[in-house]
């Protein structure tokens, strides 16, 4: 679980000056506060949001 929020790709995403970046930063902050079960839910939620962002990019392209 911790690998997802601390891997280099996610770290670079968290540095973005965008809503996606804020999402990543908030997820990182939250992952440090929750237990393992909640962290799994959080990871799934972040993945869902990233999929939605990607889909939105695809639609706009």
């Amino acid at each position: 679980m911790s690998d997802f929020f601390n891997n280099p790709q996610f770290e670079s995403l968290a540095k973005e000056e965008s809503v996606r970046g804020v999402v990543a930063r908030l997820a990182q902050e939250r992952s440090a506060e929750v237990n393992a079960d909640e962290k799994a839910v959080l990871e799934e939620a972040v993945q869902l949001l990233l999929q939605q962002f990607q889909a939105m990019d695809g639609e706009s392209a």
Binding site: S18, V23, A27, V41, E44, A45, V46, L49, S60, A61
Partner: protein
């Protein structure tokens, strides 16, 4: 990025005109009606199309074309639009004039085709947005400021400030909320829906199933009862099996006994000589049976010898011919007492060894060591030579010796006391065991059994052998139904030994000569046996009825509950999956909403800060704090206390505020792009002081942005010369255009 040039062809009053601009501040100066606003309007018209073409197209002309040239780090973008046909020509080239991208197509302001979409994408790549309203709200400063409280513009600005234009987060949030509502009707972010969704349906179905299973405890208890009943049935079946076997044996025995009684009755009718002839020793139960058995077992030659041997040993041991029924008990108790005595013997021997190991206290040696000390002391006192010192040394030695001896004696005494205590306890146990043994000996003697331990051990061994032998006899009797009644008597013999059933052994004792003379007791005994057998059979029947009853109580197989359980499991799994998905959706929605809010707040805060700084400069620090409220309407803090809406200020203050706001917005919203700002005489309402401050602000902003300021103020022309601004005099250009064209643009007066 800068706007390098604006090319106008049959656009307003311009027949064919090209306006060049530079970085920094560009001042387009000219009198009223010179075409400054037409020039300014050409920029959004090219980018987004013209909604009021009549104002821009020259009267009587069928052609109205305008073009823009943007320059940005090694590339040049040339956009040309025919405003009549909305034909766009987009060419992007690099420094070496190589074409990087090209677009050609009709893009009307209200179009929605593929070309329109492609052009919007190109425009977004160039400006960061493709919306005219946003352009006019940020980059374009006209005479009349864009109404910021316009709801559509506020929404656009909120999007622009909140999340730039990278994605429509509101749409994503809407999608997530829609999915959440397809799963459950409950919403943490608003009103719940009326109708149940999948989660509620699953929960309801699960509750119903569980309520159905509320009856399951009865079934469960029934199944538990069934298990219990099954156990009872199994035990009863086993018991019945044994009882049936016993009843068969009993019937056979009674039958044989009956034949024997009949034979005896018949023999009573024979002459007395015959009756008084030596009977076979079958009347002696054990001996007779043991002797007669070989007759019925003709094929077994070793058994007679074994029985003879066994009989001899019984007699040698002093065992009565009729073994006492309590013999097994006596033997078992004797074995137990023997074992107990053996167990007690071991700690007693250990105790003895321990007592022996404790050595006696060497009092003689102590006296022997003390005596020299006393003599030495006495000698010293006699000689009066260091008597005191010698006395002390001798005293210490004596004390040491006697102290050591005393402690040793105490330890020895303690050990001996412990041993004595332990010995007393063991002796007490041993005495009790011996007492029981004495009582057992008396009982053995009363039964006519030898009471010595060795005899009892041998007797126990013989009883075991006897049991084995009788088992073999019984098996043979089962195999050959023609076994002699004596075999049956022998069969009953073991029960007297094994099961202490004296009643069962009684029939074994065949009547004596005196008893034969009185046949009624045998017949009576036969009747008693038959009565007992009948009672036994009655009990057997009762047990069989009980078995049938128990078997009928067994509930049928619970196959019907299996699908319910499977369905419950499936629903449980689905419920868990739905709960998981709902949790994920809620987490995602909260995360995205918070991120958008944070991002917007961050940028809005920055925008408010930038605006406040700029507005403070323009107002000479009279108003230092400006902010946009939730509706993106600006308000100003007065006297550092209360907030006042912008519509309560003078027109000049309002203009200054909007100028500050737009410059700040262009700065904040930039997202890496520095767009040119077009200001079409925005200072007409400012007094000299504020105009000066506004110009200073513009000059400041021009260090980052390209500014195209259009004004009729001739004083600005002087300042432009002084400040080395790029000056574009439009009046002469318009004149030259008129001269070249030879036409009077009287029809363009409506632009004023």
């Amino acid at each position: 990025m800068i706007l390098r040039s604006v090319e106008l062809e049959n656009f307003g009053k311009f027949r064919d005109q090209n306006f060049e601009f530079r970085r920094g501040l560009n001042l387009v100066i000219g009198p009223n009606e010179a075409g400054k606003s037409t020039l300014a309007e050409a920029i959004p018209a090219v980018l987004f199309g013209a909604t009021n073409l009549e104002r821009l197209k020259p009267w009587g002309s069928s052609r109205c074309v305008a073009g823009l040239v943007f320059e940005e780090q090694g590339r040049t973008i040339h956009i040309k639009r025919d405003l009549v046909s909305d034909q766009i020509e987009w060419v992007e080239r690099d420094d070496l004039y190589h074409t990087l991208s090209q677009f050609s197509g009709k893009v009307s302001p209200r179009g929605n085709g593929a070309d329109h979409q492609k052009y919007c994408d190109l425009l977004s790549g160039l400006l960061g947005f493709d919306d005219e309203g946003l352009f006019r709200a940020t980059c374009f400063f006209g005479h009349t400021p864009q109404q910021w409280n316009d709801e559509s513009l506020s929404k656009k600005l909120r999007t622009l400030v909140g999340g730039t234009t990278e994605a429509d987060y509101a749409q994503i949030l809407e999608r997530l909320l829609d999915e959440h509502f397809t799963l459950t009707r409950h919403s943490p972010w608003g009103r719940d829906k009326k109708n149940d969704r999948e989660y509620e349906t699953v929960c309801l179905a699960l509750t119903e199933l569980q309520s159905q299973e509320a009856a399951t405890p009865i079934e469960a208890s029934a199944s538990a009862d069934d298990a219990e009943v099954q156990q009872q049935i199994d035990a009863l079946r086993a018991e019945l099996e044994e009882d049936r076997e016993e009843s068969r044996k009993g019937e056979r025995y009674i039958e044989r006994f009956r034949q024997q009684v009949k034979a005896e009755q018949a023999s009573q009718e024979q002459p007395a000589q015959e009756r008084q002839s030596p009977q076979e020793p079958s009347q002696d139960s054990v001996e007779t049976t043991l002797q007669r058995e070989p007759e019925s077992a003709e094929d077994n030659s070793s058994e007679p010898e074994a029985t003879d041997d066994l009989q001899t040993q019984f007699v040698a041991l002093g065992l009565p011919k009729n073994p006492p029924p309590q013999l097994p008990e006596l033997l078992a108790e004797a074995a137990e007492i023997r074992q107990e005595l053996a167990v007690l013997q071991q700690p007693l021997s250990i105790l003895s060894q321990r007592e022996n190991s404790v050595t006696a206290t060497p009092w003689g040696a102590a006296i022997g060591l003390t005596l020299p000390c006393v003599l030495a002391t006495a000698g010293a006192w006699w000689q009066a030579h260091q008597a005191f010192l010698v006395s002390i040394i001798a005293g210490v030695c004596c004390c040491g010796i006697w102290g050591w001896l005393t402690s040793k004696a105490m330890t020895r005494r303690k050990v001996l006391a412990q041993c004595e205590q332990e010995r007393t306890r063991l002796e007490k146990k041993k005495g009790a065991a011996l007492g029981r043994q004495a009582q057992l000996s008396e009982r053995c003697e009363q039964c006519g059994v030898a009471s010595s331990a060795i005899d009892l051990v041998r007797l126990q061994k013989l009883v075991k052998e006897h049991r084995v032998l009788l088992d073999r006899w019984w098996n043979k009797a089962d195999a050959t139904e023609t076994a002699a009644p004596v075999a049956a008597q022998e069969q009953e013999a073991p029960t007297t030994l094994d099961e202490t059933s004296s009643n069962e052994s009684a029939p074994v004792e065949t009547p004596s000569a005196e008893q034969v003379a009185e046949p009624s007791p045998a017949a009576l005994e036969l009747m008693q046996m038959e009565a007992r057998l009948a009672e036994f059979l009655h009990q057997l029947q009762t047990k069989e009825e009980r078995l049938v009853e128990l078997e009928s109580q067994q509930t049928p197989e619970q196959g019907a509950t299996a699908p319910v359980e499977t369905q419950t499991e499936e629903l449980q799994e689905r419920k868990i999956a739905l709960e998981r998905r709902i949790s994920v959706l809620r987490e995602a929605i909260n995360l995205l909403a918070k991120a958008v809010e944070n991002f917007g707040a961050m940028h809005l805060k920055r925008l408010n800060k930038e605006t406040s700084q700029l507005f403070a400069k323009m107002t000479g620090d009279r108003h230092c704090e400006v902010e946009l409220d939730d509706n993106m309407s600006p308000r100003v803090k007065v006297d550092g206390r209360s907030w006042r809406p912008i519509d309560r200020f003078s027109r000049g203050t309002v203009d200054a505020l909007y100028l500050s706001l737009r410059v700040a917005l262009a700065k904040v919203r930039g997202a890496g792009r520095i767009l040119p700002l077009i200001l079409d005489d925005p200072f007409v309402h400012l007094d000299q002081q504020r105009l000066s401050q506004a110009l200073n602000l513009i000059d400041l902003a021009a260090t980052d942005n390209q500014l195209i300021l259009l004004s009729h103020n001739q004083d600005l022309g002087k300042r432009a010369a002084r400040e080395r601004w790029h000056l574009v005099p439009i009046d002469s250009a318009a004149e030259s255009s008129q001269q070249e064209g030879g036409e009077d643009h009287v029809g363009q007066l409506h632009l004023l």
